[in-house]
């Protein structure tokens, strides 16, 4: 095979060499071509063309990267602020606002019960949270019961949606817009709980009837120059677990109250029976003593017997009186205990009823805040120019330029 291979290659080499020939009239042809070239002055200097266009591609690419970096930096700065327009920022902010923070184990923490909120009376900037409100409602009950909420039954389809609303508005007239926002809140039957403003930033916290929410939102949108300048977060949470706990506590309290009332009734009946029996015995003893004392006899022996009997009956009378006094005392004590229990249960029921009404009221209101932030000219540009699309566009242009001009071609065929 090697021999064959050698022979074939040798043959082809030899064939190739033999094939290399000059055309007939080679010199004449050469002279003719060179003459034509001389007359046409063909060997011309390279005409000036657009040189190094790939450099433009690099410049465009560099500019796009620079643009991307600066835009990214600017947006990061915006979103890192507490009141950024970034939805991620919103999410975080909203999560803290609703105060619905679960522990690592997944259980709802005491914060969720609003224990913290229950401690304060006024609505402050950060603590006006849905969780806080919830805590106000159910915190006391949860503490008295000493257990956390559990998830509502999956078969219970009732909804008690608590809505939280947050709006971010970018504007160049912060204080003017803040005043208008407060007017809008009040105009929809709402209550401004907290407001602060300066030339660059304003924040308004409010409570609004749920029925006014849609018209309020529409009016608030008119406050922003364009939808780009406004972002909203609406967070809804079903308060069914809290409602369930209130219902369970109410049922438990009602049951306990009924038990206590039954116990009190039994106690009274038992006491009356015992007192009647004792009084009957006392009456019989007193009658016996009276009979003996009225008996007339001259017999010394009989007189001695009567004296002994009267003495014994008197002793029995004292014992019965003591029993009666003890019974009355025990009855009074037990009745007081039961009455106290009944009073507690009744108070608990009143408290739970109040919590239930508060929960319903809470569901029927919207807790919200409006952040108004001053925006710079560059910020306005960043809102209108989608930086990542611009980056992609410039990069594509750079790539096209490179492909068209920058890539070295194998041959420039003439």
């Amino acid at each position: 095979m090697t021999q064959v291979s050698y022979n074939l290659k040798d043959l082809l080499h030899h064939w190739g060499q033999k094939e290399r020939i000059l055309p007939i009239g080679n010199e004449a042809m050469k002279a003719r071509i060179f003459a034509a070239l001389r007359t046409q002055n063909t060997v011309q200097p390279e005409r000036r063309r657009f040189r190094y266009p790939w450099r433009i591609a690099f410049v465009c690419g560099g500019l796009s990267i620079l643009f991307f970096v600066t835009q990214g930096f600017y947006l990061n700065r915006l979103t890192s602020a507490d009141h950024g327009l970034n939805p991620a920022g919103y999410g975080y902010d909203a999560a803290s606002k609703v105060g619905y923070q679960r522990s690592s184990s997944g259980e709802i923490s005491a914060n969720d019960l609003g224990v913290v909120y229950g401690a304060y009376t006024g609505l402050s900037a950060r603590e006006v949270t849905a969780g806080g409100i919830v805590g106000e409602i159910v915190g006391g009950a949860a503490k008295s019961i000493g257990r956390y909420f559990t998830q509502a039954s999956p078969f219970d389809t009732r909804e008690y949606l608590k809505t939280d609303y947050h709006a971010e508005i970018k504007t160049r007239q912060v204080q003017k817009k803040a005043t208008r926002a407060q007017t809008i809140v009040r105009g929809h039957g709402g209550r401004v709980d907290n407001s602060s403003s300066d030339s660059k930033y304003a924040r308004i916290e409010f409570v609004l009837p749920k029925s006014e929410m849609e018209s309020f939102k529409d009016e608030l949108k008119e406050l922003a120059a364009s939808p780009r300048f406004m972002a909203e977060i609406i967070n809804s949470r079903n308060l069914l677990p809290e409602k369930t706990v209130i219902e369970q506590n109410t049922a438990s309290s009602q049951s306990a109250l009924a038990d206590s009332q039954k116990q009190r009734q039994d106690l009274v009946v038992s006491h009356n029976t015992k007192v009647a029996s004792l009084k009957q015995q006392l009456s019989y003893t007193a009658n016996s003593i009276n009979k003996l004392k009225k008996e007339f006899t001259t017999s010394t022996e009989r007189q001695q017997e009567i004296a002994v009997a009267v003495s014994n009956l008197s002793t029995e009378q004292r014992r019965l009186n003591q029993l009666l006094a003890n019974e009355n005392a025990q009855y009074q004590k037990k009745r007081n205990e039961i009455d106290a229990r009944i009073k507690n249960e009744q108070e608990q029921l009143v408290f739970l009823d109040q919590q239930d009404r508060q929960l319903i009221n809470n569901v029927e209101t919207v807790q919200g805040s409006i952040s108004i932030e001053w925006i710079s000219g560059w910020g306005v540009l960043a809102l209108y120019v989608p930086y990542y699309r611009t980056f992609i566009f410039i990069a594509i242009i750079a790539l096209i330029i490179y492909l068209l001009y920058g890539r070295r071609r194998r041959f420039e065929l003439v």
């Binding site: 064959v4 291979s5 022979n7 074939l8 290659k9 043959l11 082809l12 080499h13 030899h14 064939w15 190739g16 033999k18 094939e19 290399r20 020939i21 000059l22 055309p23 080679n26 042809m29 050469k30 003719r32 071509i33 060179f34 034509a36 070239l37 001389r38 046409q40 063909t42 060997v43 011309q44 200097p45 390279e46 005409r47 070295r408 194998r410 041959f411 420039e412 065929l413 003439v414």
Partner: protein, 177 residues
């Protein structure tokens, strides 16, 4: 001709020195003309395309940038392009099967006819792509790198294709011998 010699001649030719062009002509034309004759199977047509190739190459000599590519490769690329243009305008080339012995005698003046017939018989058994590769390799005497440039493929692909063509040619060779 070494590449540095070729580059020196091109540099002189770009300055308008006819003698340098003449030397390039003398060095490259036998290979180019042999390649064209073998490809086109028609001597007069090969003459025309040879002239056109040189005219265009010399007219655009200022555009030529070596960048590791030999001038001869550039010429072969222009020649191939000219052939394609001719075929587009006038129909496909005459197939190798149409070539008769008279043509061979006129074409290969002074050649060893038995050897030539043998190679032509082998080439007849190969597809056009293989024939083109063998022409570029053995008539144009181009290395794999230059073949890759002319055919606009990678060097590795050129090497593989040439070896496969040789393998197929070897099969035909074994059949004949």
């Amino acid at each position: 001709m070494e590449i540095h010699e070729e580059l020196a001649l091109i540099a002189r030719a770009k300055k308008g020195e006819q003698a340098a062009l003449g030397l390039l002509w003398d060095a490259i034309t036998p290979k180019l003309y042999g390649y064209l004759v073998n490809t086109l199977r028609e001597k007069s047509l090969a003459d025309d395309i040879l002239q056109n190739t040189w005219l265009k190459a010399i007219a655009s000599l200022a555009k030529f940038h070596a960048r590791g590519v030999r001038f001869s490769s550039w010429l072969f690329a222009i020649a191939r392009n000219e052939c394609r243009q001719h075929w587009r305008q006038n129909g496909r080339e005459r197939s190798i099967e149409e070539t008769n012995e008279e043509n061979f005698q006129t074409v290969s003046v002074g050649g060893d006819l038995s050897e030539k017939f043998l190679v032509e018989k082998i080439l007849k058994m190969l597809p056009e792509e293989d024939r083109e590769l063998l022409r570029l390799r053995y008539i144009a005497d181009l290395p794999f790198k230059e073949i890759a440039r002319v055919l606009e493929i990678s060097v590795i692909t050129a090497r593989v294709r040439v070896h496969r063509s040789l393998a197929r040619a070897r099969t035909g060779f074994n059949t004949i011998v």
